[in-house]
Assembly symmetry: C2
Homo-oligomer: 428 residues x 2
């Protein structure tokens, strides 16, 4: 029989304890921020009905990237590729009862069939933060502020720029100015969204297919490179008004310096209807959007009970960790987890070592026991390998006197303690 | 267009914030115990290759309960039905480097296609605790002790019994005493395992199909109802010796009273080779095994590098929560999450309310803002609904004096505070 592979499925990761500690540390830091704003955690099932994604998740994801399956009753299911549809479904399910505004967060794993590459894997975890209800202007403000504070809490606020745009402005330009239909406008906006990733020729062909005649290309380029002041004069509309009010609110705040208007921000997902934004890592090596989000007016209403506009974003763990590594923002001391190592010189001491373990645990200490007798030298080697702070050493002499020797493995100091005085270990 | 359903897929749960708080509380309580023994958290991907389960997961699960799918390169995948194969794969991947004994835990979600019923859902979360290496006797002791301490940490130690058995004893009886082949013995043990859940006639037919002649049924019944002393006289073997040593170690410990020998404990999974156990809720309404586990000698070696025997268990969140609810062991105060509610009487105060929010957050308080102007009465109604501790109230008069009114919503007391003295809120 051929041995089974120890590798995980292509494009996925195993979280060995060291990686898991980093993962948990990132999650805890994110929770600090969102919980200080009273966001509440939720979760939903890993598999959902296929229809949930067919409704509003973009075509590329549904047709090319979704993991689908059928259950034994021929229900068509999908492994969730994003969390927003689940969130919208759940909010809709209790839309009348939930206190508004609804502030929710989650940190689910998501699946997309992608060609694995830097920053993109088939399974990743994503912090989802959503705010439904309230004045849209104030809610957009809070969500952008939280996106900023998340990065700030990792020590990275001056390593990012927050690019902001508004879908209403894009729609105004494509439909009112260029005269495209809604469907053409969507196609054209996808071409602009993909521009940096595709050859110039493909980009132009896609624009033409979307109904943009070649003589308009220059106008289109000019539009997408306009600043907000130019937009105000040349393309006045609701989108520009919303952007102006939003930038006004951020005046004289910590966020202001990181905030830039960028008409090229589209977001791949079809459901955005107002403010959209992307957070860029400004370092040259990660030169792309780390994460982003926006306002969606029409998601909760898909479930028929009541409309409720929301705004939110998803921040993936893969790009976040790359960001933290690039800027040296991960802590060095995520290795320590063993307080005390208890040696086992002979099997007859096993029950005694269990009792010492339980006494030390009652003092709040984390205790590692080797579960196998060995020479002191070998056991101390293991104690050092797992980075224990103290080792407890004993033989017949100590035991007959109800004592143990405590050795501080960092300083080398050692001391004999009575068994009923084990709390003094912290002084060794 | 028909509205989408707000229900999750059959047999799965949505975790709205209240359920999520209970879920997180349970997880945190479990982590306290395993971390005090230096178990380290790990995780693996949600989808694994189908072969991983075909190798050792029981036939019933693989053929009837597995969610399988193919990716776009025709790789056959499965949604993980249990965590042990992933754990074994990962340990095997670093078997030479990992310090021994390996102490790992995880709290993954798992999927099985089951008919949803009390205590059984298609998606559940399961604490997995595994210990690989060390003297098997000592390792078995530690794992059983931790299973006990987990329940003890929830306040339920006298609501359970721990039923212990050993696969070697079962194998000895079926092969040496009854003369069955290994395959027949497995079939017979499955019949015994299912006995309580199937009609008497089906049970008997299954035994006969497994090669147990009808004249042996009485002997078989007697065997499965024997106590450990009887086993020692009538069926001496390695399994009985291991059981005797294990029960000896637990003499005069807290666990002893909860521990019972039970020859009927089998565990459904094929990979157990030594000690097996199940934790029973002793209340009549949940009268069945809550969780269990055992020793597996041959899992890590499937991956070809090196054999490493382990012992572990999985404790599901659904049965655990039922246990805690039945015995009234869930805390009542899992609702509080809002410290301060900041009213918004008029839009012109929005920026001021943001500044107060940030000052209070710097004091470690969780702050809820309504993001929409409304009358005080309506806002206070919302503040009470979300169970806020304090409300901050202000109008032009307060603001012109750089002050706010703080109201303690629990006591009704209120006090005017200067904006640069907000830390005094804790005294109101």
């Amino acid at each position: 029989i051929m041995a089974l592979s120890t590798k995980p499925y292509k494009g996925t990761r195993d979280f060995y304890p060291h990686d898991m500690r980093i993962h948990t540390w990132m999650y805890d830091k994110m929770k600090e921020v969102v919980k200080s704003h009273c966001y509440e955690e939720y979760n939903g099932p890993m598999l959902e009905s296929f229809e949930l994604y067919a409704a509003k998740t973009g075509e590329e994801i549904v047709n090319q990237q979704l993991y689908t399956l059928e259950d034994k009753s021929n229900r068509k299911l999908a492994v969730r590729p994003e969390m927003t549809p689940t969130m919208a479904r759940m909010v809709a399910g209790q839309v009348l009862e939930l206190p508004k505004p609804v502030r929710w967060f989650s940190f689910p794993n998501l699946w997309r069939y992608e060609r694995p590459q830097r920053g993109r894997l088939r399974e990743h975890w994503q912090l989802n933060v959503d705010l439904l209800g309230g004045e849209p202007l104030y809610a957009d403000y809070e969500i952008l502020n939280i996106a900023y504070k998340l990065i700030d809490n990792f020590g990275g606020k001056d390593k990012i720029k927050i690019h902001v745009n508004n879908r209403k402005l894009i729609n105004h330009f494509f439909t009112e100015i260029l005269g495209l239909t809604a469907e053409q406008a969507l196609k054209a906006s996808k071409a602009v969204d993909a521009k940096a990733k595709i050859p110039e020729e493909v980009y132009k062909t896609q624009l033409q297919e979307a109904g943009v005649p070649e003589e308009q290309f220059e106008k289109l380029e000019a539009f997408f490179n306009s600043d907000l002041e130019t937009m105000k004069s040349n393309y006045p509309c609701e989108g520009v008004n919303e952007l102006t009010e939003l930038f006004e609110l951020f005046k004289n705040t910590d966020v202001e310096e990181q905030l830039v208007f960028d008409a090229k921000i589209m977001r791949g997902l079809d459901y955005y209807t107002g403010t959209v934004f992307e957070i860029y890592d400004i370092s040259p090596e990660n030169n792309r959007a780390m994460f982003g989000g926006g306002r969606y007016d029409n998601l909760v209403g898909l479930f028929g009970k009541q409309q409720l506009s929301g705004v939110g974003f998803g921040m993936g763990d893969v790009t976040l960790r790359q960001f933290l590594e690039t800027h040296n923002l991960l802590p060095d001391d995520l290795h320590d987890f063993v307080d005390v190592f208890i040696t086992l010189p002979e099997n007859k001491f096993f029950k005694a070592s269990v009792q010492i373990t339980e006494s030390l645990q009652k003092l709040g200490l984390k205790v590692f026991t080797p579960l196998q007798k060995a020479k002191f030298a070998n056991q101390l080697k293991l104690a050092n390998k797992i980075n224990a702070h103290w080792a407890i050493i004993f033989g017949d002499t100590e035991f007959n006197n109800n004592q143990v020797v405590v050795k501080n493995l960092k300083s080398g100091e050692q001391k004999t303690l009575d068994l009923n005085n084990l709390e003094k270990i912290r002084e060794v």
